[in-house]
Each structure stands twice: as C-alpha cells, then as structure tokens.
Amino acid sequence: MSLTETTYWVVGASFALYIWIAIRSRAGTTREFYVAGKGIHPVANGMATAADWMSAASFISMAGLIGLSYNGYGGSVFLMGWTGGYVILAMLIAPYLRKYGKFTVPEFIGDRYYSDTARVVAVICLIICSVTYVIGQMKGIGVAFSRFLETDYETGLLSGMVIVFFYAVLGGMKGITYTQIAQFCVLIFAYTVPAIFISLQLTGQPIPQLGLGSTLADGTYLLEKLDQTLLDLGFQEYTTSLRGSTLNMAAFTASLMIGTAGLPHVIIRFFTVPTVRAARTSAGWALVFIAILYTTAPAVAAMARLNIIQTLEPQPGQYLAVEERPEWFKNWEQTGLLGIDDKNQDGRIQYSADPQTNELVTLDNDILVLANPEIANLPNWVIALVAAGGLAAALSTAAGLLLAISSAISHDLLKRTLLPDITERQELMASRLAMAAAVLGAGYLGLNPPGFAAGTVALAFGLAAASLFPALLLGIFSKRVTREGAVAGMLAGISVTLAYVFQHKGVMFIPGTSFLGDLPANWFIGIEPNAFGVVGAAVNFAVTFTVTRCTAAPPEEVQRLIEDIRVPAASSRD
C-alpha cells in the first residue's frame, strides 16, 4: 500500500471514530450542550482539556519553533509559559468559577460586575481572543490535509469543517468532550512514537526526556555536541541563546502563563466536572497529559536539529552531495518546506548561519515534526499517524474555541441580555444555530485568511492576559472592585495590547500600516509584541484600581456571591 493510501485509511478511521462518538453523545439540554451536564470525570476532563489546549501549533510547529527559530534555550518561553498557566488556573481561577456553577465566562463577569455592559465587553474580548486563535486551527486543518493527503487546501479545510460541524452542532460540549478524549489519544501516540525512535537511534535511550541528556554513539553528550556543531556553523550555542533579552523572555513567559489562565475555551472545560475538588485535580491531570507532549517536544527539537545537520554534513567538512540527498529530503522540497540553492556550484550542500553562503535556503519550523518519521526511517503507518495526530490537534482545539464563541453568543448575548424570555428548547436551538454559524464563519476565515493568520496564536494569549484574566482574578479575590473599574480595565488592557501589536505589525496586520515599524529598537523596553500581554495586564489592573477608587462599592448581593464562590460548600458541621 502506498503512503498516501495508508494515510487515507488511518485518517479516515480516526474521522469515523469521531463521527461515531458524535452520534452516541447528542446533547438534549442546554446544560449538556454548554457544560456536558457537569458529569465528566476529572481524569477524563484532564485528557479533554489537554486536547482542547494543544493546538495544531503545539503539535506541528512547537518543536520547530524551539529547535530552529528560537535556537534552543530561547524556545523555553513556550514550554514554561504554556504549562505554568495551569498552576494559576488550578489555584486562582478554576475552582471558584466551577463553584459559581453556571455556563460561560462572560456570564460570570456579567453577574460578578452586576452589569450587562461588563457582560457584553467580556463577550467582545472573548470573541477577539478566540477568533484570532481559531483561524490558526482552520489553517492547520487545511495545511495538514494538503500535505499528507495531497488534496488541495480548500478541500481539506471543508472536510475538517464537516467533521467539526457534525459533532459540535449535535453534541455541544458533550460531543466535544468525548471526541477530544479520543483526539488526545491519537495525537499523543502520534507524537511520542517517532520521538521514541529518534531518541533510540541517536542515544540508545528510549525515553526522549532522558535521551536529551544522554550521550551519542561517539560518547559526547547530545547537547554538548549540538552546542559545538552550531557554534562551528556560526550559530549561537543551543543551550544558552536568549530570545531578545532576559527581560523579554520573562515577559513572554509571563504573558503566555496568564493568558493561559484567561482563555475562555480552557476555563469552560473546568465547568464540566462534578465538584470544585474535581476541578482542582482535573487541572493537575490536564497538565500531566500536556506535559507528555511538552517535555517530549524539546527532545524532538534538539534531536531533529542535530539529525538534519548530520545528514547534511556527516563528517566535519564533508558535505552531502546534492545528487545523493535522501528521498524524504526531495519529498519535502516539493512541499516548499525545504529548499536548497547550490550557491558555490560545488554540487554539495553547505548549511551555515551566514545567509550569504548558506545553501539550505528554506528550512521550515514544521519540518522537525513532520519529517521526523521519515528521517528516522519509520514505517508508513507511523507517518500516516502523524497526519492523523496533527488533524486531531487542530480539530479538538477548533471545536473547543467554537463552543466558547457560540455559547457566548447564544447564552450571554441572547438569553442573558437580548431575549431573556426564550425557553430552554429555544435556547438549545439557538445554541446549535450559533455553533453552526461559528463553524461556517471560522471556515470562511480559514479559506480567506486575513494577513495576520500566521503565527498569531501567541497574540491570542496576550489579549486574554490583558483583558479577561485581570477581570476574573479581581472578581474572585476582591470584593471592592466595581463594574466601572472592571469595564474600564478590560477595555484599556485589550486596547493597549492591540495598539502595541498594530503599531509594530501593522493595523490589522496590513503591511505598511505599522507606524513605528517592526524594529526591536522601537520596542517598549525591549519587549516584543507577542510578549506584551503582561504589560497590557498591568495596565488593566492599574485602570481597574483607579476607577474602582472613584466609584461606589458593589451592592450587598454581589458581596454575598463572592463569599459564596470562595468556599466549595456551606459548612456541614452543625
């Protein structure tokens, strides 16, 4: 069987599984549609959260970001930032919002800040963050299809949409939860199998996390070898090269952390477990499942990078002849992810840090994960599995985001603000329609991606960090913060962050409209736009406090609501 046929079978089987789950788990009530009836076991929810969380970017691009773009140590911002947020989530956010016990994030903000304005502002912030994020997922689906199944981008994207449409519209959160569990199993298996093989081949150690610290066949440590090799090629040392400055790395890490704790599609996953206690353990399980991939990724990054260099230069000074390059190399050249240009016409490929002489002119980040199984000579079914895994990662995150968007529309805008008199049945119908519209809208944006779609997932974190996170945190931990304070804070935080990104990257990312230029010299104290969320959050806090001081304290019943969400239950000891 050819590789393409095998891939069709494996991907087809995984899709059949998702559809089967969708049919088995239709939602009959709004409670099932929004929060899966609050009956999900904490370990199962942990697994679903992990799939919800790990996007196409985590699966396909992160190892390459670490290993290539960020040259090793600098990529640690993603590893720490995208996991450290779960500690904040488990301690400061999830248990209290679970106790609050309703359906959506804007709903909490609206009730806590006793204001429909706050609710609507929260809906707007949620939609801005989630739409930015979902475009990346739709693109990921289209790209994964076109690379592995040799369809065109549009066909791939449409097939993905049909699948998501099916289980998200039918089953809401209930259908999404069970498919996410299945998708987690597919993606984690697809990620770890090639990693184990590459670790075995390079270091003889089957566990990649240990392999990263092990010795190679020649007795030198893998990381030492990589450091030395990169220095010889003119790059910086792998284990020490900073991303910008220490301050920029700290700000980037902190932005991703608090952004994680403020992203609605992650928070609502913790509404599906039965108790407050379960919400806390579930966050722990989610991080366990996420960490399987996140601790493997840096190993894949270092090993695949070394592997590629050694393919090109097996012995020092002895370069790979253009004619002798392996089959996988030629295959990936056709997709445009690899590209060579024999500048000095010696028939050999010289890879170096100097753009004048470097002959490996294209080396896409995604190649580290996508080509891994072929570089390691693994059988076709493993390659097919990577395709199914990438799709699972993109589909599961897209579905979670779409639910966050559609429930904000049908529940917060319609039921809680515009049409409070609609019945349960009408609201369920509205939620399905909102979901259908969200899928179509996301598909449209995936087909006509606005210029900023590439690499803006990090931006969604900055926006969540600057808008929703402070409002949620203060809503729980302060009884004094007022609606005026929160609304002003959210608006200030999201505007400052958007303005900073736009002024460096262009208004709506249209090239040429950036008024300060994308130059590190113009960055505010050396902080890059993607890392600006933490500054936006600080602005949000400052504005909230200032405005709160000038306005009257929240009413009595809001103070009682806060008292109430802080403890899991009334005292049972009478």
Partner: protein, 91 residues
C-alpha cells in the same frame, strides 16, 4: 472551645487557602521565572548528566514541578475542606 460559627469557618478556610497559594505560588515563580530565566546563567555552570541545570529547569524541570504543585494544592485543599466540614456533596 465553642464551635466556630459559619463565618469563622469561612474565614479560617480563606486564610489557609491564601497561605497555600502564597507558598506554592512562590515555588512556581522560583522554578520558572527564577531558575528558568533570571538565574539561568549561574545555574548553567552546574552540569548534571548531559544537562546544564538552568537549561534543564527551563525545558524540563519547571514543567515537572508545576504538576507536583497542582497536586499538592488539590490535596491540601481537599484535606482542609474535610477538616472544616466544607466538603461538597456530589449532586
């Protein structure tokens, strides 16, 4: 000793909760932004196996610590709730 009132129980619970958040939050900060970013250079002079210690914290150690922190927090809070009689009855 008189039985604590409902509001006293809540107060004890909230005070204990904040204490644990502070302790675990401090560790969270130290292993990630501390060991992984701010003090990475001095830590990198220490070599354990094939890893420079600072690099290991940034790409492996911080993540393992995060998991442990969440489970410790979940555990101490569950115990506290049992002690104070604030457990939920599952619906």
């Amino acid at each position: 000793m008189a039985k604590p009132s409902e509001s006293e129980v809540r107060e004890i619970y909230w005070r204990e909760n904040r204490r644990w958040m502070l302790i675990l939050g401090a560790i969270w900060f130290v292993v990630s932004l501390g060991c992984g970013v701010l003090w990475v250079e001095p830590l990198n002079t220490i070599q354990i196996g094939g890893f420079k210690l600072g690099f290991w914290f940034a790409q492996q150690g911080a993540i393992y610590t995060f998991i442990i922190l969440i489970f410790i927090y979940a555990r101490v809070m569950a115990r506290l709730e049992r002690r104070l009689g604030l457990e939920e009855r599952e619906a």
